[in-house]
Subunit: 207 residues, 2 copies
Amino acid sequence: MTTSDRARPRKPRADGERRRASILREAASLATVTGLDGLTIGGLAAATGMSKSGLYAHFGSKEELQLATVAQARRVFDAEVFGPASAAQPGVPRLVALCEAFFAHVEGGTFPGGCFFVGAALEMGTRPGPVRDSIAAFQDELGAVMATAVAAAVERGELSQDEDPQVLAFELNALLVGADAAFVLRGDPAVLEVARAVVRRRLTSPD
Amino acid sequence: MTTSDRARPRKPRADGERRRASILREAASLATVTGLDGLTIGGLAAATGMSKSGLYAHFGSKEELQLATVAQARRVFDAEVFGPASAAQPGVPRLVALCEAFFAHVEGGTFPGGCFFVGAALEMGTRPGPVRDSIAAFQDELGAVMATAVAAAVERGELSQDEDPQVLAFELNALLVGADAAFVLRGDPAVLEVARAVVRRRLTSPD
DNA sequence: CCTACCGATCGGTAGG
DNA sequence: CCTACCGATCGGTAGG
């Protein structure tokens, strides 16, 4: 608490924040190709035109960089998937919007390697630590959002009373993961069209 | 074609073949944790008690090692999944057997990182080359096996005439991939039980 | 944020 | 199959 704390109240390191954000956008993209572990300080330095030690000034260690990259990917997912979904009516419309937004997110090429969290889940699943925990926390949230939307749909009579929220959430999640994996491997948007049709039929015809 | 070719017709380098096979079993296991790219000559040497140059004597290059590792994983998948499936009756029984064998393969812990090909598809999808091609070829085969079994089930009247083999094959594949991803991340067999129930319901109740 | 550097490990080779 | 080695790159640090 020095006097200088109040002397310059505006834009404290605003450039540094912007720089950090642009580094993390690059990091999240890179990680969908190389993996979170294959994301290298030197490689990221080259991609951003910085020196390695410049990156260490921002992130301190590789693990901190990985965690910041996961947080960045989460912000992107919020903006491109959760956002559009929460704008839709609760119940089936929200479930459909969530899946459609996911497919658009994957197809739109935000990340070259498809959904960040699908790749990260497979890569980090067997590697205990804070990075894996942050991926698992995201998956828990996604599952909870889906299960909540399913429960709302059941309450509104849009889905059968027999529908188990956890089970249908698993089914839908699997369709997203399966579509992402197939699209990344083939690069063919047709698989996303198939996935869209399956989601719509599953949510709009009788169980 | 020298005389020695016929002088020792039995067990030509049988020890070398056995050694190679045991190296590849270790390589396939390791790769489900580290990834095919994170599979390192030095790391595999340490895991097998060999020197790095000993591995180069067997495989020549890292890419050759990766291709041989994919081939090994394929042999395991044949033995543990395709084998049991082909022993079942064509149609729905074979589809169910294929999925059940897959879940048992994942749950049984053959590989610490779950299904080799799920992780490999996500990892190699954005990295063109012969290794990715071999992964894609496997996925094509799995899809074809499933679509063929669906078509047989439709012909036998076990599934609705409206069922599109390609679409249902995609659905089932997604359930396998989604179950593998969730099981690897959580380590909880309960997700496989959910997946089994979904598969059975999808294949035994009216569409 | 930089240059310059550290020990460790990478894929791969020489020579046996 | 081994030891011994190559240049390149890894994560990270010193000092500015």
